[in-house]
């Protein structure tokens, strides 16, 4: 199913960073992910789309073990996800995640949000962690908000803080779960811009999104899911202009209609 990524993109290396093999997941008796196979190489930018309830969130949440899979294998950076807490910790240190609803810590300032994990997970000295945090806050263009609390920021600013917070752990892979769908239209761009920057720097990204413009310009591969299965995957050019599967065509016609 998975082929070597398209040569169209220069950043992609041939180093396999995520390898999902014959993976199944159930919620109780509900078979939510069915026989998922996915190989991700370093530097890939993968956009995952599909109708609501198709299992997109569940899939990327399995990659950092926010959800447990019951069958098959998930190997991240040569570490297999098992019940071994050491492996889970190791993988979470390498994988950053950005959520639809930001999930910033409301009782901590923006700077504390960013410096927290480096200090406690990586034992970075506080001064150093705060300096790194400032560096990433500058990259997402909100260094002046460092001392504020998340509740005092706009949605777009909060999401940029969330991205900076993930980057502070210096992850090798970033997962995004609909990072812009809780935002007002005028804030979507400021978040997408940050993500485009990241892509340019060669970050490996898996992104669940319905922003097709983003998919076309940034992704090197688009994956379409429905009913817990990967139905189709292709480079964005082929995916949008020449979808193979009926369900993909239907989905695209619906999403491009408005």
């Amino acid at each position: 199913m998975s082929s070597q990524p398209e040569a169209a993109d220069l950043h992609v290396s041939d180093e396999l960073v995520i390898n999902i093999k014959d993976m199944h997941k159930w919620y109780g008796s509900f078979h939510v992910l069915k026989n998922v196979n996915l190989e991700v190489y370093r530097g890939e930018r993968i956009v995952i789309c599909g109708p609501s309830g198709s299992g997109k969130s569940t899939l990327i949440r399995c990659i950092n073990r926010l959800e447990e899979h019951q069958q098959g294998q998930i190997i991240v950076d040569n570490v297999e996800l098992t019940n071994d807490l050491k492996n889970i910790d190791a993988i979470r240190r390498e994988v950053g995640m950005v959520f639809q609803h930001f999930n910033l810590f409301p009782h901590l300032t923006v700077l504390e949000n960013c410096a927290l994990a480096p200090i406690w997970v990586k034992q970075v000295p506080r001064k150093e962690a705060e300096a790194t945090a400032m560096k990433y806050l500058t990259r997402v263009k909100i260094p002046e908000q460092a001392e504020k609390f998340p509740g005092q920021l706009s949605g777009g600013q909060q999401q940029r803080v969330a991205i900076a917070r993930s980057l502070c752990m210096n992850p090798r892979i970033m997962l995004f779960d609909e990072p812009t769908s809780a935002l007002d239209p005028e804030m979507i761009k400021e978040v997408l811009d940050v993500m485009i920057e990241l892509a340019k720097e060669g970050m490996t990204m898996l992104c669940v999104t319905h922003e097709m413009g983003f998919a076309k310009t940034v992704a090197n591969r688009v994956i379409f899911m429905d009913g817990g299965e990967i139905i189709e995957e292709n480079n964005p050019h082929e995916f949008f202009d020449n979808p193979q599967h009926e369900r993909t065509k239907l989905f695209l016609s619906q999403i491009l209609a408005h």
Binding site: N64, F99, V121
Partner: protein, 374 residues
């Protein structure tokens, strides 16, 4: 509405609000006379206060007698001054020491005073952020309970004072403060245990909480005072006050646990997911992310429970300990002062009110301080 003056579009200046909206007049209009219902309530309240307050002031201050040798003496003094007899506070004055110290030996009472001062000093760095030397202060707060325990009980160089000499306000404070300080951590542990993924741990916590909540405190105190003797090996003596302290602490920790569980459940799942996704360990997430927020939400409920516990300390009268209420009743047996129960109960009520009201105010202060605009 038209204004007398016209301005260029986009040049309209900020004007001061109308007088009726600001200052004392504005406040009174808004708060006391904003609607017919409001006016009626305001008038009724003023009338009610007019009926209640003057006689109360008369009784407490103006007609009261502060120095006297007996109740008859009080009466005589009031008559000589041509007043009606108000409160006979002289009674409280004569009994004051026993209200404060109970039966604590007179020559050792400085230890109670010192303990009280140490308790206040230990509370300051815990309750307030911006005090000088807070770090060192917190270390002191940590060891203060041990020192206070030693001061009160004695031994190791101090004359031992058996705990059945404890009484009055110092007994209330001993039980109340121990219960509060002890039940918070136990309550947190129980709340977390109740949410644990380990079924055995969860069941133990649920069973404990539900048992304690299902039994009246008085029953637990009776168990403490009588039944424990059957369970303990014969010959062991297990101090009655210590048993009461344990029971009161366990009792309120069950309530605290439920209050905190409410706080934990109010947090969005995304908080723990974000913490997990960054690789924080369970205890780190709890300490840094979950508990600070859950406790903040739970402050009103926690303080409510503490106030309840503090007032429930009066129940120890039933198993023969003399808290202020018990002291008061005992004092009433004195023929010289017979019939002055109102004075006693008002006095004790004021003591409890001051303590509990301070806790309530502190809780409001804390809520305001921790508010971060979400």
């Amino acid at each position: 509405m038209s204004t007398e003056q016209s301005y260029e579009i986009g040049e309209y200046p900020d004007l001061a609000p109308p007088v009726t909206e600001v200052g004392i007049i504005g406040w009174i209009r808004h708060n006391l006379f904003s609607s017919t219902t409001n006016i009626v309530i305001t008038v009724l309240t003023i009338y009610f206060l007019y009926v209640i307050i003057p006689p109360m002031l008369n009784w407490i201050f103006l007609d009261a007698v502060f120095v006297a040798e007996s109740r008859d003496d009080c009466r005589a003094i009031a008559q000589a001054a041509g007043q009606e007899l108000g409160a006979c506070w002289a009674f409280i004055g004569k009994r004051f020491e026993i209200f404060v110290y109970g039966f604590y030996p007179v020559e050792e009472r400085w230890r109670v005073d010192l303990s009280f001062i140490m308790m206040l000093a230990a509370l300051v760095p815990v309750l307030f952020d911006h005090v000088p030397y807070r770090k060192q202060g917190l270390w002191f707060s940590l060891i203060a309970p041990v020192i206070i325990g030693w001061l009160l009980i004695g031994g190791m160089g101090l004359t031992p004072v058996p705990t059945d000499k404890f009484g009055g306000f110092m007994l209330t404070l001993t039980i109340g403060v121990t219960g509060i300080v002890g039940s918070l951590p136990i309550g947190i542990a129980l709340a977390l245990g109740r949410q644990s993924h380990m079924p055995a741990l969860r069941m133990v916590c649920v069973a404990f909480i539900e048992f304690i909540r299902g039994v009246p405190l008085i029953t637990l105190l009776f168990v403490a005072s009588t039944m424990l003797n059957y369970f303990l090996p014969p010959g062991t003596t297990f101090d009655l006050l210590l048993r009461v302290l344990i029971m009161v602490t366990l009792f309120s920790s069950a309530y605290i646990a439920e209050v905190i569980r409410g706080g934990l459940q109010a947090l969005p799942k995304g908080q723990i997911e974000a913490a997990d996704s960054m690789g924080l360990k369970y205890w780190q997430s709890m300490r840094l992310i979950i508990l600070p927020q859950a406790l903040k939400i739970s402050i009103p409920g926690i303080v409510n429970t503490f106030i309840g516990l503090y007032k429930d300390t009066t129940l120890v009268i039933i198993i023969g300990l003399f808290d202020p209420l018990g002291m008061g009743r005992a004092s009433l047996a004195d023929t010289k002062w017979q019939g002055l129960s109102t004075e006693i109960y008002v006095f004790v009520a004021i003591f409890f009110f001051v303590s509990c009201f301070s806790m309530a105010r502190y809780s409001l202060y804390l809520e305001k301080k921790l508010h971060t605009g979400h």
